[in-house]
């Protein structure tokens, strides 16, 4: 099953390289087509895979460490606080290259705020963390709304940005994100068993030898950093982090040793597919924001799973 899925993923990667505004025959490509393939299409496909994996991985970790099947980049405030920086950068007309940096900046500020708010007596409380995240979300959204209201000329840019998409992709950004993904993935898989213990109540996990508080903090910080980096480059792409871990759990069990891998893989698969659709659904080179497609694809699939095998997602 694992091999099959990896094979399917690689096949999708290859196939989606050939889908886009211009159909490219890889065996008879003109120089310009070859260049489009190598310097635009390929990095973009790989980038969508990396971002999808980042979102899937962060969702998987969020849901377990925050003990909430609805935890994802939205409920923790990570997505909207990152979006805030980008929106302000667009509204003030900063050069395009500075947009991801601004997004990362506010994303990290949001992370620290939520983290400190949810820490009482040096103990991280998962429920407080979600509450703090939701509050962060509300505050960031209100500032974003203000920016949309006040900077009318930037309105369409802001709206398009918020819908998510792979705007400008080059190899250096791709390498940066891939490095962030790889490091976090290795950090998480090295602690997969520890993370499993977080499925138990806090006292049981602690007496099994897990420093619950420290593990939860580390996991939260890394997961949020993943989201901040992803959002800063692609805008807000929802539902991947929420749905993919549940699907992975339903198909391959809850064990984090499996779930970390499959959440990343399925996240990558979903986003590669969604981006291929967004690139090609409108003929002539126009694009549909990818966030719309992930929400639609993911939502419909989730509904199907919810009806057919709900008990495998979470109890209740």
């Amino acid at each position: 099953m694992k091999k099959l899925l990896v094979g399917l993923f690689l096949l999708t990667l290859g196939a989606s390289c050939l889908i886009g505004a211009t159909a490219i025959n890889p065996f008879a490509a003109s120089p310009i087509e070859r260049d489009i393939l190598l310097s635009l299409r390929l990095p973009r496909v790989l980038f969508s895979a990396v971002i999808g994996a980042m979102l899937g991985l962060s969702g998987s970790v969020y849901q377990l460490t925050l003990k909430n099947p609805l935890a994802d980049s939205f409920t923790t405030g990570a997505a909207s606080s990152s979006a805030l920086g980008a929106v302000l950068a667009i509204a003030f007309g900063l050069p395009v290259a500075l947009v991801p940096i601004a997004a990362l900046g506010t994303g990290l500020i949001g992370l620290i705020t939520v983290y400190r708010l949810s820490k009482t007596n040096n103990v991280i409380n998962p429920v407080t963390m979600i509450l703090a995240g939701v509050v962060m979300n509300i505050i960031a959204s209100s500032v974003i709304s203000f920016a949309k209201y006040f900077f009318e000329d930037a309105l369409s840019s802001i709206v398009f940005w918020l819908m998510g998409g792979f705007f400008v992709v080059d190899w250096s950004k791709l390498l940066l994100c891939a490095a962030v993904l790889l490091i976090s993935y290795l950090l998480f898989t090295g602690r997969a068993l520890h993370l499993n213990m977080l499925a138990l109540d806090e006292h049981s996990a602690q007496t099994l030898g897990v420093n619950v508080n420290r593990l939860r903090s580390i996991a939260f910080v890394i997961a949020t950093a993943l989201v901040a980096v992803a959002v800063s480059h692609t805008g807000v792409i929802g539902f991947v982090g929420l749905i993919v871990p549940h699907v992975a759990r339903g198909l391959f069990g809850s064990d984090m040793k499996q779930n970390l891998f499959f959440s990343s893989l399925l996240g990558a698969l979903l986003l590669v597919l969604a981006d291929a659709v967004s690139r090609s659904i409108i003929p002539g080179g126009a694009e549909l924001p990818v966030g719309i497609i992930t929400a639609l694809l993911g939502g419909v699939f989730f509904l199907y799973l919810l009806r057919t095998r709900r008990e495998r997602f979470w109890h209740g």
Partner: protein, 245 residues
């Protein structure tokens, strides 16, 4: 082997205060903690597990609890909490295997871990349920799974917070017989005085945060229990008594 020693323990939270002078529990003792609701039974358990920290000294084999890293504590004692939850669908077998976590090398369980898991699944009559999800089980079944996990941890001291909660009488007998026949030290708050008296051999009687008495079975008198619970306790034949067939 593990010897638990508590001295000058003092813990305060709000208006509640727990203070204990000296207790030493040696390997293999079966200790029941008796006391009314709010007398500090669970708090004492959490202090002994290092889940709460108070003043005073708790040591295992001479090592002070605070100085023992969390990972090493799991090799000294295991805890069955009063209520247990497992978020997300983990199978019975997976949850029982969690008990081997302190012994796992890196990310992998050894063959020995698998054998012990198998052993404890059988011991608690869970083999037939092994692939079911924990959350799909009844309260009593969940209790047995968690007990199997705790035993699977193979710690010399086992703390059980009301071990027979939500168990029927047959499984209660099974489990108390099982627990008290083993080598491990068992320390458990128990609500049912008759069961406690029948299976345990040492009793810590708590009242409003202080240790009223620390007695062996033959010293557990109705007068002492009357004082502990503020109800008239008499010794006599119960309406029903229970025995395995």
């Amino acid at each position: 082997m593990a010897e638990l020693r508590v001295s000058k323990l003092h813990f305060k939270r709000g208006t509640f205060c727990l203070a204990l002078d000296d207790i030493t529990i040696v390997q293999g003792e079966k200790v029941a903690i008796l006391g009314e609701n709010g007398s500090g039974k669970s708090t004492l358990l959490q202090l002994l597990c290092g889940l709460l920290s108070g003043h005073g000294r708790i040591s295992y084999d001479g090592r002070i609890l605070k100085n023992i890293p969390v990972a090493e504590r799991a090799l000294l004692f295991a805890l069955l909490t009063q209520t247990s939850e497992v978020i997300f669908p983990f199978s019975v077998e997976e949850v029982v295997r969690f008990g081997r976590f302190p012994h796992a090398q890196g990310n992998n369980f050894s063959d020995e871990d698998d054998e012990l898991t198998e052993h404890h699944l059988n011991m608690l009559d869970l083999s037939a349920l092994r692939d079911r999800h924990f959350s799909q089980l009844s309260g009593g079944e969940q209790r047995r799974v968690m007990l199997a996990r705790v035993l699977n941890q193979k710690a010399p001291i086992i703390y059980l917070d009301e071990p027979n909660a939500s168990l029927d009488i047959r499984h209660t007998l099974d489990i108390f017989e099982l627990l008290t026949s083993r080598e491990e030290t068992v320390i458990a708050p128990v609500h049912d005085i008759n069961l406690a008296e029948r299976f345990f051999d040492r009793f810590l009687l708590l009242k409003r945060g202080t240790l009223l008495a620390d007695v062996k079975r033959d010293q557990l008198t109705p007068e002492l229990l009357t004082e502990t619970y503020d109800v008239q306790v008499a010794c006599g034949a119960a309406a029903f008594t229970f025995q395995h067939q």
